[in-house]
């Protein structure tokens, strides 16, 4: 391993994040190269010093200020959130009414939903039709409206 390769891995070695074989190769290089060994010591010293930085104490009243900021956010978003379900319910109700209204006005749909016709009526109707079609019959026969569609 040359110096360039070793130096690129020194921080990972310091952090214990280098896989076993790679770590071994870098360590071997450090035994032979004083310059890279010095760099490794410097990086390690830096990491240790960073870890020893004093704890940062939060300023007085920070907890209250944070909670107040979050509560202001709650208040700001509340009107929308409260009205949203009610508005959704109103829109759904309007859509349902509109759909029912449309169906009531639709004739083609209505003809498909008529109640079934009794068999006796069908026999009477067919006899009337035959009578009306007979050129030697007594005269014109009035058929029920919509007969041709059945």
């Amino acid at each position: 391993m040359n110096c360039r390769n070793a130096q690129a891995k020194l921080s990972a070695l310091v952090d214990g994040e280098l896989p076993g074989r790679e770590a071994l190769l870098v360590r071997e290089h450090l035994l032979r190269c004083p310059r890279c060994a010095q760099e490794w010591r410097a990086l390690r010293g830096l990491k240790l010093a960073m870890g020893q930085l004093p704890d940062v104490e939060p300023p007085e009243g920070l907890e209250e200020r944070l909670l107040a900021a979050v509560r202001r956010e709650k208040e700001a978003s509340r009107p929308i959130r409260l009205w949203l379900p009610a508005a959704a319910a109103a829109v759904a109700a309007c859509a349902t009414l509109a759909l029912l209204n449309l169906r009531a006005d639709e004739p083609a749909v209505a003809s498909k939903t008529l109640p079934p016709v009794p068999a006796s009526f069908e026999v009477d109707r067919d006899q009337a039709y035959v009578a009306a079609s007979d050129p030697f019959g007594p005269g014109p026969v009035v058929l029920a409206a919509g007969y041709g569609r059945r």
């Binding site: 010591r41 010293g45 960073m50 940062v56 939060p58 200020r65 944070l66 909670l67 979050v70 949203l84």
Partner: protein, 198 residues
């Protein structure tokens, strides 16, 4: 029925809010320490933490209770910090982890007067390391702080910063090199003591 659902939703949200406040009370001290190390001064640290807390509240429904809340808040805080620096117009838009378009590598920072957080350097007093951190590029600084102060592993840092382990490794290495060069230039005695103490 819709009103019953709305009422149940309000109850659930009220419980969520209580839960959120409890978790925030438990985690804000550590989050403030991280914010302070990232920003370098108390006023910016508080602003950053407040921004992060509000974002966390807005997206609390996405929080996985199986994970530590503190780590989740740290992730939000790091993202908020990147946005904060971008707003200030101090973050370069070119990636420092990749070679430049011309094929060469982006040079390490040499001119300390044109640093991304020059104001942070000026505001940091009495602590060479904190001042040195301000001299490090924000992406590198975040990675170094998460590794050395928060004690995170690379995998964890990668998740927090939304990047790969390889990028984390590179950012930490380059961040430490920048930090060391700054300290050598500005505080040579401090560096000598640091190595002697090993």
């Amino acid at each position: 029925m819709a009103f019953a659902i709305a009422r149940d939703g309000n109850v659930a949200r009220a419980l969520d809010r209580e839960h959120f406040e409890r978790l925030l009370k438990e985690s804000y001290r550590q989050a403030y320490a991280l914010a302070y190390r990232l920003t370098g001064n108390a006023a910016d640290a508080e602003d950053l933490l407040q921004d992060a807390a509000i974002r966390a509240y807005r997206f609390f429904h996405q929080y996985d209770p199986e994970l530590p809340f503190g780590k989740w808040l740290a992730k939000i805080l790091c993202n908020a910090n990147v946005d904060r620096i971008r707003r200030r117009g101090r973050l370069r838009t070119t990636s420092l982890d990749q070679p430049s378009e011309a094929g060469g590598h982006v040079p390490e920072v040499a001119d300390w007067n044109s640093l991304p957080d020059r104001a942070m350097v000026e505001e940091s007093v009495s602590d060479p390391l904190q001042e040195g951190l301000a001299a490090v590029r924000p992406e590198f600084r975040t990675a170094v702080v998460l590794a050395d102060i928060e004690g995170m592993e690379y995998e964890e840092i990668a998740q927090t910063m939304g990047t790969s382990v390889g990028t984390v490794r590179s950012r930490i290495h380059r961040g430490r090199k920048q930090l060391r060069r700054y300290l050598l230039e500005k505080f040579p005695d401090f560096v000598a003591r640091m190595v002697d103490e090993l």
